[in-house]
Symmetry: C2
Amino acid sequence: MAEGSAKSDCIVGVDLGGTKILSGVFNHSLECVGTAKLSTKSQRGVDKVVERIGRCVQDAIDEADLTIKQIAGVGIGAPGAVDFSSGTVIFAPNMEGWKEVPLKKELEKFLGVPVFVENDCNISSLGVYVAELKSKPRSMVGIFVGTGIGGGLIINGDLYSGANHTAGEIGHMVLEVSGPKCGCGNKGCFEALASRTAIFQQIKAGIKDGQKTILTEMLGNDLEDLRSGDLRKAIRRGDKFVDRIIESASEYIGIATANLINILNPEVVVLGGGVIEALADEMMSVITETAKDYAMPGTMKGVEIIPSKLGDNAGITGAAVLARKETK
Amino acid sequence: MAEGSAKSDCIVGVDLGGTKILSGVFNHSLECVGTAKLSTKSQRGVDKVVERIGRCVQDAIDEADLTIKQIAGVGIGAPGAVDFSSGTVIFAPNMEGWKEVPLKKELEKFLGVPVFVENDCNISSLGVYVAELKSKPRSMVGIFVGTGIGGGLIINGDLYSGANHTAGEIGHMVLEVSGPKCGCGNKGCFEALASRTAIFQQIKAGIKDGQKTILTEMLGNDLEDLRSGDLRKAIRRGDKFVDRIIESASEYIGIATANLINILNPEVVVLGGGVIEALADEMMSVITETAKDYAMPGTMKGVEIIPSKLGDNAGITGAAVLARKETK
């Protein structure tokens, strides 16, 4: 048995994503003592995904040399709108058929332990706040740039999730009313300007228009299997086209950061997600400078803008923190 | 002496604006028992304005048949960034020379009672919350559309003013990166698209371009002394040009409202300020419909969007609430 973990003293945190499920077992000191990973396979239908989440939890517990009886609860971050009290996923846009899914109820039946469900970006913000920020600021905004863009708010030292647990939907903050169309149906959302999806679309459109890029040498003309890390490699090899697109995305992230600083005046803004993880060195200085340009005088005083180092672990850590809090 | 007011039981609330100073004396039941109003005359310099604030407080006390000895404290809402703990106005863009003004210290010397200074829109939000919203929601966003645009946040039942007391600077949320220039130096801020200043500029530019409007019949070609109420009169007389401009401003206010709902998921959004006060019947339905279009599914559930009925009194009421809280 992992050191420091006693009976029912451990917690499992799950990060449910559109492509993969991550789970981690955490001991009472919030150390991760075992992880597991499964592909989501949302095309197989809701029931199969719920079963896969359950299996991923069991795998992590097994990995940590524990049994389900030693687990006090399971926290889950789900990619969409969540009704926390019932543990229902109201709507998850990147998961096939996920509307009004009683995830808490189904998983509790499957696992036999208490389950708690929150929005994934809220959860990740909580994870960053608890596990990464030693100074424990009173207020923090988390901005997660990946396939989509989401956020989470810590206010007065606590996760703030609003009236319907949907606070932090910063990806659909409009930055450019006449901008590109977003998956949500509106135009010019932050997510339509600076997410990985938006960046990849801009790159593919540029290539169609005859732009030259090392990416086609690296991956072929159709850019199959393009990942954020490839953009970093291209920029470091001097690819001006990719550099310009990443600079533009960074500027939009900086403007969104300034909007959030103007609105919320937090002590700390943390940037995370796959795009930031892969391109922090290329993006952070542009993000910070742009945010300073757009924030009102006085609002930026003492405000830190930093990249998260937790990477993929932010979600499972936050989910564990949530479950710990709820089972105490 | 006003009924219900005992020794040191009353509070004065002050709303300091770029053009006028309002003050009101409130008894222990938060009833307004006397008011006063002076022009600001900020061109006369900071010291003279501070003196005028002091006089305006004295006038309201006199109006209520009280003396300063019966006043427990004075709250002030100032139009800019404020350091609450020192009571310093860090910067007030619409007041000549207002940088680092120790307003609390100077007024306490002048009046001999404790003085508390906050941002005016924060204060107005607090006023609306305490005096107008009987249901006492956990969270509220106040949006005040006047000469400029400001906001205030109530979170978990309390005024939330952020790390530097600058939270709620929603007027400088960028909605249109390539939009019109804002007084702050950036482009496409909410304030540059939908404030009274922006609306009047659009009207004047339209007239220059040959647009016909009843406003020139009403006020002459230079539109001297144009007020928000004139826009209402013009629309009610069938002025299509003014109607279109107000509709466009309402749409931007709706988009900003949706952004704030997506970010903060409050229970209630309250719209106030001179423009809304004058044009609520013309603007509110467009604002609400646009906000519904732009808010993410699930975030709007149960969220109310309402116009404030407090009008000019929101500021003095909130300032009194603040001073009451601080002197208790």
